[in-house]
């Protein structure tokens, strides 16, 4: 599984066909730029580390996450269970990996859904201009004022939550910011020479959008994806805490944290602080990376 950030960075290099640089050298250039942003690099490494821990970790650290084992319930950290066990006797370290997979998957799915919807919507609005653009953007204004957390809560209370449904629901209500950003980009891009040239040459609207507008707006889109993943992970954690997250035996970091929190006054710290730290580190890493990417792409366009 590649990280959410490495993947789009590569595709920028593929799509920048205005400059004729080979794929690998363009990618290296990009990486070299990231080196000027040590905090962004720290974020990226942290993210790779966390993703590796969640997705590769279980191959080296085998635990049983299916069958309840009450004989071993709520053990403090020991040589057999480095992070102890939870109230169902699940090994906490293994559960951390499993929950992390789900949290990262939901975050990524939500971000991709939101970005695809928002990019298409924003591109169409930006190209349409006039009445249609105005109407489409007023609709965005309306949806932006609809309280996100409350609506997502209502939806996840009604439908049984799964990784896919949570990702889609969160994504379906966070496409507004990318839609606005992409529309702004398209508005400035549409009057640039290369877009005009493509139009004069008779490029279809589809071609215009897919090969000229979206690739050039990718910087904005990628930066937004990193923030979206971070926000989605926080939202999922909150849903889990309020009791509307995934149901047993599925688990995510938010659900684990709220389970652990019920035992916090019993002194079961190992069920609270490791998973709390994982959430904070992931969101922190994504935000650091996002900030650096924004600066990188910002400098490029100016």
């Amino acid at each position: 599984m590649s990280t959410p950030t490495e993947m789009p960075v590569k595709s920028v290099a593929v799509q920048t066909h205005t400059e004729k640089i080979s794929l690998s050298s363009a990618f290296k250039m990009r990486l070299r730029k990231l080196r000027e942003h040590p905090l962004g690099l720290v974020g990226l490494l942290l993210l790779l580390l966390l993703a590796g821990f969640c997705f590769i970790g279980p191959y080296f650290y085998h635990t049983d996450q299916t069958y309840v084992n009450l004989a071993d319930a709520a053990l403090p950290p020991n040589s057999e269970h480095p992070l102890g066990t939870d109230a169902n006797g699940f090994d906490a370290l293994g559960r951390l990996m499993k929950g992390g997979q789900v949290s990262l998957e939901i975050g990524l799915l939500a971000a991709v859904t939101a970005t695809v919807l928002g990019t298409l919507y924003g591109t169409i609005a930006g190209l349409a201009k006039g009445v249609l653009d105005g109407a489409m953007m007023r609709l965005v204004d309306i949806f932006l004022s609809v309280p996100f957390l409350f609506v997502v809560l209502i939806l996840s209370a009604r439908f049984s939550a799964s990784t896919v449904s949570l990702g889609l629901v969160i994504g379906a209500f966070s496409w507004l910011v990318p839609a606005r950003l992409v529309r702004g980009e398209v508005l400035t891009l549409r009057v640039r020479e290369f877009v005009l040239a493509a139009r004069v040459m008779g490029a279809s609207r589809r071609r215009l959008i897919l090969t000229h507008l979206i690739p050039n707006a990718l910087g904005v889109i990628i930066v937004n994806i990193t923030f979206q993943v971070a926000d989605a992970i926080l939202i999922v954690a909150t849903l889990g805490f309020l009791g509307f997250g995934l149901s047993y035996p599925a688990t995510d970091w938010g659900g684990q944290l709220s389970n652990g929190a019920t035992y916090i006054s019993d002194g079961y710290w190992w069920l609270v602080y490791p998973v709390g730290a994982c959430i904070i580190l992931t969101v922190l890493a994504l935000n650091l990376l996002g900030e650096s990417l924004r600066e990188m792409f910002g400098r490029q366009t100016s």
């Binding site: 409350f150 929190a261 006054s265 709390g276 904070i280 992931t282 969101v283």
Partner: protein, 316 residues
């Protein structure tokens, strides 16, 4: 100015109608049969149908929406069949307590974030600045309920300074009458806002510090303290006004979480309990109120911006 406010009001009204439509239709399709929800799983289909037709739930959805909208304009927020109480009464019982919680948190957040942001900008790239930046990034990355739980673990259990529960008194003024019991909930909501506000304040102050009027004020020998308070403060607060206006939904979401963590009965807890009861009239009304407050927050921020900065062109 009056013209600008009127225009903004008209646009806000349109957005509000849009919000009501979005939320109404969403809840309509999510909730299924209201009769079934009220009468329970064992009720006969005839009873459910009778309930639905008696309360007009069998009409076409558009007709229901417009009649709801008409009732809203008459100040009728609906009726909670589960609690046998009008939604307006339910909201009223809790609104004051929630509003005080939000306001106290907002005031505390501003009182800390504004000086902090200015101080960070003045001492930019110092250890203090970096530490504060690291702090605000970490706070921003922390789920709010975890923040609340950590505060309880630290200041209620490890060092027993504050109670772990919010005040259970039914008065709206508990923030003043029982400040010790309200300290942790208020701080929980405020901390997240401080993380956001101080970042904006720092950036805005940095922009202003390079301006000529600051140089002039310094050159004429004005003490640095006066340069900052008399000249810089007002100008550097501009972006924050917008951010505060936009933070209404975050504040109310913060209420929801703080009220849950600290068991403080307010609108957030009412929403959550209604969610478990599948009490859709309450959910609908509260979601609409949050949407309305969001629009109002934006409107007030824009007008406040226009008042504090005469240079802004009022072209809606």
């Amino acid at each position: 100015m009056a013209w600008y406010v009127l225009r903004r009001l008209a646009i806000s009204l349109l957005v509000l109608i849009g919000i009501s439509a979005v939320v109404y239709f969403l809840l309509y399709f999510v909730q299924g049969s209201p009769g079934r929800a009220v009468l329970g799983q064992r009720a006969s289909p005839e009873a459910v149908a009778a309930f639905n037709s008696e309360h007009g739930f069998d009409r076409p959805v558009l007709e229901q929406y417009f009649s709801y909208l008409g009732q809203l304009l008459h100040g009728n927020l609906g009726y909670s069949y589960k609690l046998n109480e009008s939604v307006a009464t339910l909201l009223q019982q809790n609104a004051g307590r929630s509003a005080m919680l939000s306001l106290a948190a907002l005031v505390l957040a501003l009182a800390i974030a504004v000086p902090l942001g200015i101080w960070q900008a003045v001492k930019r790239n110092s250890i203090v600045d970096h530490a504060a930046t690291a702090g605000s990034y970490t706070l921003y990355a922390t789920p709010q309920f975890l923040l609340g739980l950590v505060l309880i673990a630290l200041f209620s259990q490890a060092i027993p300074l504050f109670p772990s529960q919010a005040s259970q008194s039914s008065s709206a003024w508990v923030v003043f009458t029982d400040p010790r019991a309200m300290a942790l909930p208020v701080i929980t909501i405020a901390l997240t806002s401080i993380a956001v506000f101080s970042r904006y304040q720092r950036t805005a102050t940095l922009d202003q510090l390079g301006q000529d009027y600051v140089k002039v004020a310094r050159a004429k020998g004005l003490p640095e303290r006066l340069v900052l308070t008399r000249h810089l403060l007002r100008n550097s607060c501009q972006p924050l006004i917008t951010v505060v206006g936009l933070s209404v939904p975050a504040l109310l979401a913060g209420n929801l979480i703080a009220e849950t963590v600290f068991n403080y009965s307010g609108l957030g807890l009412l929403f959550l309990n209604s969610l478990q009861r599948e009490d859709y009239p309450v959910l609908l009304a509260y979601t609409l109120i949050v949407g309305t407050l969001t629009v109002l927050g934006n409107l007030i921020a824009d007008v406040a911006l226009a008042i504090t900065d005469p240079r802004i062109e009022l072209s809606a």
